[in-house]
Symmetry: C2
Subunit: 340 residues, 2 copies
């Protein structure tokens, strides 16, 4: 006991903590932000089936409902090295779980960046995960559900369309993939339904988060990047740096010059150019990067394979070499004077 | 810096950590457990509206989908005092957020029990929060949505039906309520939709969690208690103690004797007997307690007002005196030799 504590004490003095060292927090907690009270009136009482095989029973959809709020969980390391809080925004059909333990049970970027001394705020976008979702009487659209095989074929885990098989032995992963393919089932357990009509409330809640927590650094993945750049355009003074991980579309090109004082790092994994969908997203991202530069700003683009880092999927924060990529991001953040 | 660390060091040696002291973890992370792959076949492709005002577009609901998994987040304190892990199970229409920061931003039971030295596993039941939910093609029932005012009138925050008003100044809280009424809006942001047809997969996932993590102690609230007792009946050798917070119904009376070696604490807040709904639940709980006792088991029932602890709502883990109730639970657990 005493030995362990002394080890913790020494490591806390010496610098960045490794995975087998304790994490010491000066605080941790959660909150919901944003949202509004939706008034549903004039809807007819309808009959719904509440239990399979059960009778149709009356359901009154009218009343006031709390909707469009966003869940945020935070961890504040005792030994703070980040100059600003670090906001982590996940991609489409996912939640903040993206940054927690990897599907095969290793540490994710949440733990890694806490260990690097960042106050981390990890959120579930509106209508995802612990943010809850609104009824069809409030949102006139339906959620969509992701096929079990979809990300395997699409996220550069397997070799594109047709690489999936329900028999794991017959799947065709990309040779040398860094994704922990043996834990693909666990990855799919992280998937949540999503609506396609909620961009506006999602962005509104993120703006409220920025107004509450920032100045800050934003780390955004995939769809989260598309939201992130748009939010940054609205609050360029509050976002001190952006790390965009395979942002799936970016901001509005005409607004890009607003980010002239916000250093941006764009990170792309392996095989992006060979997959039309990802090549198209990257083209959009790079055009946005050019627009930021044209406005006097600065964007660094890292194509991991060009740095000799091979095999990364769209879910690089969960890939086997996620620590190596976290280190690369940290080095860039230190270079931008965002952390000691 | 050195001063803070020495303070942490000393407090870790001296006992239970208070809210302003750091939390030192030997590990933290998350996983999903349970679930199954649902095959949807033979459903007709249908037209859905994906964006409000947008066109109807084709949606193919067929394929394989990962469904009915459960999200679990865990925190492992460096200074472990609980003999077993502590599982926290939330109530209906809620998630594990129940045990995190209170709606008014104080520490919740998650932090408190970590500080008391418990390895805590906090979960979102199947179809709640980060567990995701299945499509109508998999679950032939609809989610239900809670009115903004419902818990105010029902959870013994306000004085029952009619005590709600959309103008906070005109609401009628129970005099002396411990619930942080000024933060009621934040509480409702924690609310998530729920299905009424998912008891079976919820229980199945909880059983898988118990098989993975236990022997353990279970702390369950409201609907979580109804699940908890049924799970304990299936795994009486793995559940070492149960703390049931206003369990909303209990287990199956005929199975109660299976819990003869599992000490149970039932905790009830204030004004329970004056509210027919809560009085009815309590009656069911006490009958179940009697059935456990008749089978040779042991149940302790604490009515908080009889201990001089007044004003507690159904959400006592978020009430202003939540630390006092946590201490009462901890004392009982120590008495059962579940912790040092």
């Amino acid at each position: 006991m005493r030995k362990i504590l002394i080890a913790a004490f020494v490591s806390a003095l010496s610098g960045v903590a490794a995975a087998d060292e304790p994490i010491t927090l000066r605080g941790m907690g959660s909150f919901h932000i944003g949202g509004r009270i939706a008034e549903v009136t004039g809807k007819e009482t309808r009959m719904i089936v509440r239990q399979p095989g059960g009778p149709q029973t009356k359901y009154d959809p009218n009343g006031q409902f709390m909707v469009e709020q966003m869940y945020v969980q935070y961890f504040l390391p005792q030994s703070r090295k980040g100059k600003y809080p670090l906001l982590m925004w996940h991609g489409g059909g996912l939640t903040g779980v993206t940054y927690e333990s990897t599907p095969d049970g290793r540490e994710g970027w949440l733990n890694m960046f806490i260990r690097k001394g960042w106050d981390v705020y990890n959120s579930d976008a509106v209508e995802r995960g612990r943010s809850g979702f609104a009824s069809p009487d409030v949102w006139p659209s339906e959620p969509t559900f992701l096929n079990y095989q979809d990300p395997y074929e699409r996220f550069r885990i397997g070799q594109g369309e047709g690489s999936w098989n329900s028999d794991p032995a017959k799947r065709r992963p990309i040779p040398g993939t860094q994704f922990p393919v043996e834990a693909y089932e666990n990855y799919m357990k992280q998937s949540v339904p999503r609506w396609l009509s909620t961009d506006e409330p999602i962005i509104a809640a993120y703006v409220e988060l920025v107004d509450k927590i920032c100045p800050c650094v934003m780390l955004a993945h995939s769809q989260g990047g598309a939201f992130g750049f748009k939010v940054a355009e609205k609050r360029p003074d509050k976002i001190k740096a952006i790390v965009a991980i395979e942002s799936a579309t970016a901001g509005i090109v005409a607004n890009a010059p607003k980010l002239k004082d916000v250093p941006v790092l764009m990170v792309f994994g392996d095989h992006v150019d060979e997959h039309p969908r990802w090549a198209a997203f990257k083209k959009i991202d790079l055009a946005y990067a050019d627009a930021i530069r044209a406005g006097g700003g600065k964007v660094d683009v890292v194509n991991l394979p060009e740095r000799g880092i091979k095999g990364n999927s769209h879910m690089m924060m969960q890939d086997r070499n996620n620590a190596e990529i976290a280190d690369l991001i940290q080095k860039w953040l230190v270079d931008q004077k965002m952390a000691d």
